[in-house]
């Protein structure tokens, strides 16, 4: 299983690197959108700064992950399923998207802090919030993109499916990173961290249970 996941991850990376437009596109997308926000807002109050960052982060993640299964042709997918177990395929996709969304949100945060400043007082807790939030986004979005791939109707279904399901994750992510932004001690965030981890584990477990049914064509 681990071997299979490794091979699939290498495949994802090769495909991504071969057609650089996808990752480049998201990169330039985040730069442009941050620049637009800078021009539109100028300077921001801390809480607005944080909320706007999470909204941009959400859209970047949705943009980056939507194409994950859509990029696969039906024949190509059928071929994969003769080679690998469906669990390894899902695991590889989740790990890949997890790393990708973390990377993209760090890039986004870099541009964002450069142009709009940073009111964050306690970076370790702030990054924990971003880390947990993005983990939740990556797990849920990977599974939802598999569902919307089956609907074959592109990005609009993906947005309709994912935004309501992601609300708890986003809210908890904002809450934890806000505590980091305000410089509160770790102990205040424990409760929220437990909850968001619970949601991540639940979504992950459901994905692994249900994914095989999605592919039994």
């Amino acid at each position: 299983m681990i071997q299979e996941v490794k091979q699939l991850l290498r495949k994802e990376w090769t495909v991504e690197w071969r057609q650089k437009y996808a990752i480049q596109g998201v990169f330039w997308y985040s730069l442009t959108v941050v620049f637009l926000c800078y021009l539109a807002f100028g300077s921001l109050k801390p809480f607005v700064w944080l909320s706007l960052f999470w909204i941009l982060s959400l859209f970047t993640a949705v943009n980056a992950i939507t194409k994950s299964f859509v990029g696969e042709s039906k024949a190509g997918m059928a071929y994969f399923y003769t080679l690998f177990s469906s669990k390894s395929v899902l695991a590889a996709k989740i790990i890949y998207h997890w790393l990708l969304s973390l990377f993209l949100s760090l890039v986004l945060l870099g541009f964002y802090s450069l142009l709009l400043g940073s009111p964050v007082q306690k970076y370790d807790l702030f990054f924990t919030g971003i880390f947990l939030g993005n983990t939740g986004l990556a797990v849920a979005l990977t599974f939802l993109s598999a569902i919307s791939h089956k609907a074959r109707s592109g990005a609009s279904v993906m947005a309709v499916l994912s935004f309501p399901v992601l609300i708890p994750t986003i809210l908890l992510g904002i809450k934890i990173s806000k505590m980091g932004m305000d410089g509160l001690p770790w102990s205040t965030a424990m409760h929220e961290m437990g909850q968001i981890s619970g949601i991540i584990l639940l979504t992950g477990a459901l994905s692994f249970l249900l994914f095989p049914y999605l592919w039994r064509d």
Partner: protein, 225 residues
């Protein structure tokens, strides 16, 4: 079996509508007579959760057994559950207008209720997006299971952890815990209407689901012939 819930629905709802409106209620400041909305607003949320749970069960059953009736039942239950959600929302807004002074008070439970309606709205969008019947049934069942589990944080976890809620049951409202059961220190006279109302509304939900399911079956028959 069908006769049982039909009788329960008619008898209990006639009772809840008449005795609910003329029966005695405790006089509470601010709530006054609007406390009677308890008989109509709260059963909607019980109905939503129970019907969504039935829908979830039929989706699981469909994935295990692959019978198309299970899929149609899951869809019918999801539809009535959503109708109950919308009605719960509407009765809640009406109540909020009288007691909190605004249709939309930005309360955490209003927000989570809206989010859960959106989750189920997406279920129907997804169904309509897939043309092929078996594919639709399977993908919709998978999403429905995910949707039911996403109700749990929305309806049971986030509202109870909120620092402030206008609803009873939030941490700031003085009565921590289950919002439905401590509600307004529900006195015994009200309990006599409240519980029958819940059973009545839920039975009506079952009835509606069954009717919708029968329409679906007829439509499919017509399509095949």
């Amino acid at each position: 079996m069908h006769l049982v819930y039909r009788i329960i629905a008619v008898v209990f709802l006639v009772y809840a509508f008449t005795w609910g409106l003329i029966g005695p209620v405790p006089a509470k400041p601010n709530l006054e007579e609007t406390i009677r909305n308890l008989y109509y607003h709260v059963p909607m949320w019980f109905g939503l959760v129970l019907l969504a749970f039935c829908s979830f069960l039929f989706s699981v059953f469909y994935l295990l057994k692959g019978e198309s009736e299970a899929d149609q039942l899951a869809e019918s239950f999801a539809l009535t559950s959503t109708v109950f959600g919308v009605l719960g929302f509407a009765t809640g807004m009406l109540w909020a207008q009288y007691t909190w002074g605004n249709w939309w008070a930005g309360d955490v439970k209003q927000i989570c209720a809206l989010a859960s309606i959106l989750v189920y709205g997406a279920y129907f969008v997804l169904r309509n997006a897939i043309a092929e019947q078996q594919q639709r049934a399977r993908v919709a069942a998978v999403y429905n299971i995910l949707a039911f589990f996403s109700l749990i944080p929305l309806l049971f976890i986030i509202p109870r952890n909120a620092e402030f809620s206008l609803h009873p049951g939030g941490q700031g409202s003085g009565s921590v815990g289950n919002p439905a059961f401590n509600k307004y220190d529900l006195d015994n006279r009200m309990r006599l209407v409240f519980w029958p109302a819940i059973f009545g509304w839920f039975s009506l939900g079952l009835w509606m689901t069954h009717q919708y399911f029968r329409i679906k079956v007829l439509e499919i028959k017509k399509m095949l012939s």
